[in-house]
Amino acid sequence: MLQPRFTPCLLIRNKGLVKTLNFKPFKYIGDPINAVKIFNEKEADELIVLDIDATSKAKEPDFAVIKKLAAECRMPLCYGGGIKTVEQAKRIIKLGVEKIAISSVFLSNPDIVTEISNEIGSQSVVVVLDVKKKLFNKYEVYLDNGKKSTGQSPIDLAQKAEKFGAGEVVVNSIDNDGAMAGYDLSLALKVRKAINIPITLLGGVGDLKHIEELIKLCGVVGAAAGSFFVFKGSLRAVLINYPAYSEKEKVIKAAFNIS
């Protein structure tokens, strides 16, 4: 059976790892390569690394850092941050990254998704949507680390991403980011029902129970988390951690009612 993915998501800022709370920098976590080494040992399903500085500071992707990450990473790696062109995407794939993630460039020029997937294959093109909850159970996609509103709904944009050839959509809840109180399940289900490509949810995990809730509701999806995989305990001491296979299996069995 295809298994839901338990995916750590690491945020890079000034070459170091940080964790955010509602998209605001919150805590320095440490060295990205060291974190990758730990997730290798723990055999994480895959890894998402996002450079949260690149686009907001109009920087190119940091190819030197990506090269080091890719060389160290023994699990599938998805990299995002600052990717604006087909050439950049190709270069990152060539460095040994499985998937590239784009966000703001997709909003300004959706054709780029088609152009990139023609080059590297749609299976390797991920669109990340940062989503804020609005009044009356509505949602809106934001850019620039949650600062810039777009006026567009995540459902419409997810469908657009699929139509233009994306292979996956990552939905990141700004409201739930860092809160460790569970995913925005209503948002997750809406997006799941709207498209037929794999989706990954991000934002809110504080317990394996939250991942169980998500896959019980949405089936085989990616369950990504930041804080949950880098903090331990109520005081949020930095401790990179990842569940053993037997623990993941328990979560999956409970979610799907398999004895």
Partner: protein
């Protein structure tokens, strides 16, 4: 020596990393001169079928590869699109495949799936192998590998099927015909299962 064919596609470095941790020497071939003396080949690949075939066709390595694989019968392992390239053709493109294993590459057809599944097939899935030696030697039950694809290899000869995976239907995820092998999943990104498979390949 194990020689990884670098025709401009695929995660070459990931294979180099796995083998260097295993202390097994590998070489990267960019041209036909680099293929001289190869005793085992790896054909990686990502992206679309036509682009991969086009790149391999224009790499200048094809004649030497045919010589090595078909005449000298040295082992070759195709990975992902590298496996699909071993087929006669693919629904994804117009170019001919290598035709080294009789079969065609098909797109997952949602109408023939028992349950509606999302595409691409992305993530960790189980592999049922037909033999416990060779590539799948010394692997515990319940072996899992990482998949990332929307097309799969359909063999015309049942005897060439080495392993299957379930995703709406049972599809062939590993093939073997004498010295020619292929896997649809990514052993280079499949943790200890993948490392074991690549180690096994080095010992074939």
């Amino acid at each position: 020596m194990i020689t990884i064919i670098d025709y401009g596609l695929g995660n070459i470095q990931a294979f180099v990393n796995v083998y260097s941790r295993l202390d097994i020497q590998v070489r990267i071939a960019n041209s036909k001169n680099d293929l001289v003396g190869a005793t085992k080949l790896i054909l990686p690949g990502v992206g679309s079928f036509d682009r991969a075939m086009q790149k391999l066709n224009s790499s200048g390595m094809l004649d030497s590869l045919e010589q090595l694989v078909l005449n000298k019968e040295i082992p070759i392992l195709g990975i992902c699109v590298g496996m699909q390239m071993l087929a006669n053709s693919s629904e994804e493109g117009k170019l001919s495949g290598l035709g080294w294993i009789d079969g065609t590459v098909k797109k997952f057809d949602k109408s023939s799936m028992l349950i509606n599944k999302n595409l691409p097939h992305m993530g960790w899935n189980n592999v049922i192998s037909r033999e416990e030696q060779g590539l799948f030697k010394e692997m515990q039950e319940n072996k899992r590998f990482y998949f990332l694809h929307s097309y799969f290899f359909e063999c015309n000869e049942d005897s060439n099927i080495l392993g299957t995976t379930e995703y709406g239907l049972n599809f062939t995820c590993a093939i073997k015909k004498k010295n020619i092998m292929g896997v649809q999943f990514h052993p280079e990104k499949s943790h200890h299962f993948g490392v074991q498979l690549l180690k096994n390949y080095s010992e074939i």
